[in-house]
Amino acid sequence: MPAVSKGDGMRGLAVFISDIRNCKSKEAEIKRINKELANIRSKFKGDKALDGYSKKKYVCKLLFIFLLGHDIDFGHMEAVNLLSSNKYTEKQIGYLFISVLVNSNSDLIRLINNAIKNDLASRNPTFMNLALHCIANVGSREMAEAFASDIPNILVAGDTMDSVKQSAALCLLRLNRTSPDLVPMGEWTARVVHLLNDQHLGVVTAATSLITTLAQKNPDDFKTAIVLAVARLSRIVTSASIDLQDYTYYFVAAPWLSVKLFRLLQCYPPPEDGALRSRLTECLETVLNKAQEPPKSKKVQHSNAKNAVLFEAISLIIHHDSEPTLLVRACNQLGQFLQHRETNLRYLALESMCTLASSEFSHEAVKTHMETVINALKTERDVSVRQRAVDLLYAMCDRSNAKQIVAEMLSYLETADYSIREEIVLKVAILAEKYAVDYTWYVDTILNLIRIAGDYVSEEVWYRVIQIVINRDDVQGYAAKTVFEALQAPACHENLVKVGGYILGEFGNLIAGDPRSSPLVQFNLLHSKFHLCSVPTRALLLSAYIKFINLFPEVKATIQDVLRSDSQLRNSDVELQQRAVEYLRLSCIASTDILATVLEEMPPFPERESSILAKLKKKKGQSALPDIDDSRRNVNGSTEHSEITDTTNKSSPSLLKDLLATNRPRPSSFSPIMHFARTMDSTPSFTDMLSLSSAPTAGASLLVDVFSDSSTLTSVDVSEEHFPRFVCKNNGVIYENQLLQIGLKSEYRQNLGRMYIFYGNKTSTQLLSFTTSVTTNDVLKTQLNVHAKAVDTIVEGGAQVQQILNIECLSDFKDAPVLGIQFRYGGTLQNIAVKLPVMLNKFFQTTEMTSQEFFQRWKQLGAPQQEVQKIFKANHPMDTDVTKAKILGFGVALLDGVDPNPANFVGAGVIHTKNTQVGCLLRLEPNTQAQMYRLTLRTSREPVSQRLCELLSDQF
């Protein structure tokens, strides 16, 4: 144990901590902790009242145990007692415990709020600070409701101590972030701005934080802050380093405040007033000049603080984006940092330059550093620095340097860390497309991407190359030739097979003249890869084969033989089998004309916004990615735009605009044959059907969507649409879509329930691999047992199967179990999730009682936390009989003649759980004139009252 024991050491605590540290194993530790917990529990429960010191010591021990990662479920009351103590040392520990352990929806908030209220009113600055800290730490809505209107007064009152002002400002900032609607704007806001002039720099710092956040939301209300901030900044940056006494940090004048003021100014455009503007420019120049001065200290703290201010000043310069000289100076300064020996500075310089690259004034200046950045990519030891280098290369890329940058990124990709490969692939794909002058380069680049990092090439990327090739007829022949050559490699990535299959299927005829790539050679090449590929790729290849039959009648027989083979016609995968069967049939019965029409070349894709770009943004977060599309419009954007327009053909006027939207069907293009076969009579135009420009019908997308198989697995929305309907009834349809209907019947007795689930197949075909699962979250698991009987894995067309669920309620609960259903339909995996209507009120047993009994019980349950009341507007017509039926359906007995007002409804029941029974009284008072209800519930357990009130109040 260390010798230090300032203030009041708590010996018992230190001994306990030593014991824990001496534990040799996790088990020993847990044993020691359980012993201590038992001891504390008995002390808290004991008859002898504990003195403050012991209480403090035990609460501290509990806190320590909690911080070790163990759950603590008692001691809160004792902590609240400490909080309310007049002794500072107890109060402080009480507040610490509450701040660390109490989450925002605790039952204790009301008690805590009371203590806080007293402390805020105490006029004792130490107590006030503790209270404000607690509000900022917990920051719950209830606290905001209680105090949001008082804190502004504390903040601007003339007699408030400086330290309290600081706490009040930051507390208000916190509440504004969590519950902005509760913090009233008003007269105080003007006075807050004037805190920027305060004598005390600590107050100014805290106020600047507050004002910045407020100004981000309402810039107009805080415009007056600009003048004051500039004045303050100017005083700081021109001050001698000792002027600010303790606010000087390693010879740098008030770095925290300077940075905050620069940040505040970034909420606004450059000042319009000339004098103010030049004063600010002076400030910025001074900061830039200081960067060139020799350091006043060798300590890293000095250089960090100094450069922190410099980087923030540069951020403001970039934000204003209006002073070319400043921008270029900033860029040169960052250029120096690119070669600094401090890794941190190189990292930040790369990051900061990314934003500079998007300014028209500094874009060219940034480009001069290209070689250095490329070098960083090759030599930096730290992957996060290399990643910044990739970002910067991406940001500085334009027509003039695209080929070099793309080549460098490609070569880096060969050795790049796995964690950043996908991102680099996306970036290369975007740059290659955006700056492609001749599309042969584009095709080469993407094929290289697949070769080097095929696993990291996402679907968006290879869809995109196909779309571009389809839309540009000048590159189709080259693309066919190139993929043909690339496919010669003995081991090529599956993504290449996909691209190759698609492109040869569409444009193989363009190279068929050469005997080295005759139709048969092409087919044999593709088919040699077939057996190594996954199902989706095989499906795509089958489509390519039927396209071949159309393009090259001479290989028809060969391909038909392949389709006819057992491995195709009897393939265990439904999708492949169906394709083989239908393609074979189509090739046999359709005339050449019909075949040619059905299998016509894909029409050009419509222009859409970039999906690769969207993916990259999603990956990086909007803010982290300099948007090369928008921001450089003034410099190169507009000219480039027109250049590209000139070089592209007329059907696709601009390639800057991406062709593929994120949420439209993928170019699984020539697969919807089956769909075609089914709807042939009703649809007059074939090309239209094959075109991807029209949104597919729901049925079609099920068939077409062969690529999406597993990707949908993870993100199924839980359907809870019909959930509320089941609060007051037990039977009905809980879910329905075009394939499946799910009906429920349920019965409950005491704490047990049984639910019959009926799955109805609405289609005429089988649902295969039909499986269901009932999941409960971690909390619910301890409250509810759900056991599901097995169900058949096949649901015949038009048939209904039944599943039985046994339910046991262990204790009161809030959440509901989720029923997950999975099956295959038409080769596609379907996922459905439905919230099951197992609610707390299902475990009600009715209780009949007389008026006298009722009121006696009602009074017994009179504690404030036992009652929950809600006043709400009627959502349905206020019909007495309907209301009665709903209350009965809710599970309680309706008691007539209890309430003196006959229009009111009174009910009683007992919730049965395995562990306890909870009696419940309820009263519903309709007000037909106002079309409102008041619902009051009293139970012995607050969570029960809460939950029942939530459930029932939605029903009227």
């Binding site: 260390p2 230090v4 300032k6 203030g7 009041d8 230190a14 540290r21 003195d51 403050g52 010191y53 501290c60 911080l67 002794k87 500072y88 040392t89 402080q92 520990i93 610490l96 660390v100 989450n103 925002s104 130490t126 917990v138 920051g139 719950s140 330290s163 600081q166 706490s167 930051l170 507390c171 916190r174 972030r177 600590g202 710092t205 805290a206 006494q245 303790d246 606010y247 940090y249 770095p255 925290w256 940075v259 940040r263 960090n304 603080a305 450069n307 922190a308 980087f311 923030e312 941190n344 190189r346 990292y347 930040l348 030891r381 730290d382 996060s384 990643q387 977060g621 803010s623 982290a624």
Partner: protein
């Protein structure tokens, strides 16, 4: 604003956790796990900054302890590094050549000192003198209190 501050040892043992926004225990545990594995895996002489989700992670090692601070995206990394350093200085001043054990045995003090320095995820007071003075002042209060305690114990 700052989102959280974690102190952990080279073995990944958590010594202090401060959360500036409410979070469930599960989220906290996950973050603690992510941070310790991420930061401990870093090579020496790497830069002190990382991107993690939409946050910037700034970390620095002092003797056997890692200080790991998460800030929102627009915050200044270098200054965040100095927030850590200033906190270390404050601990050092209070404990006198602070070591990991001081923080283990006097964790509540480490929290109090942090609370004087930061609040609601923003810096509250950057002056070392002022923070030290208010910590000393509250220690004085504590000493008064404790003398009172002993009396109570003696006569009670």
């Amino acid at each position: 604003m700052m989102r959280f501050l974690l102190l952990f040892s080279r073995q990944g043992k958590l010594r202090l956790q401060k959360w500036f926004t409410p979070m469930s225990d599960r989220e906290k545990k996950k973050i603690i796990r992510d941070m310790t594995t991420m930061v401990l895996a870093r090579q020496p002489r790497s830069c002190n900054f990382l991107h993690w989700k939409d946050l910037k992670i700034i970390y620095k090692r002092y003797a056997s302890l890692y200080f790991c601070l998460a800030v929102e995206n627009q915050e200044n990394e270098l200054l965040a590094l100095e927030v850590i350093h200033r906190y270390v200085e404050l601990l050092d001043k209070y404990f006198g050549n602070v070591c990991e054990l001081d923080i283990i045995f006097n964790f509540e003090k480490a929290y109090f000192i942090l609370d004087e320095f930061l609040m609601g995820g923003e810096i509250q007071e950057t002056s070392k003198q002022i923070v030290n003075r208010s910590i000393e002042a509250s220690d004085m209060l504590q000493e008064d209190d404790s003398s009172e305690w002993y009396e109570v114990e003696l006569f009670g």
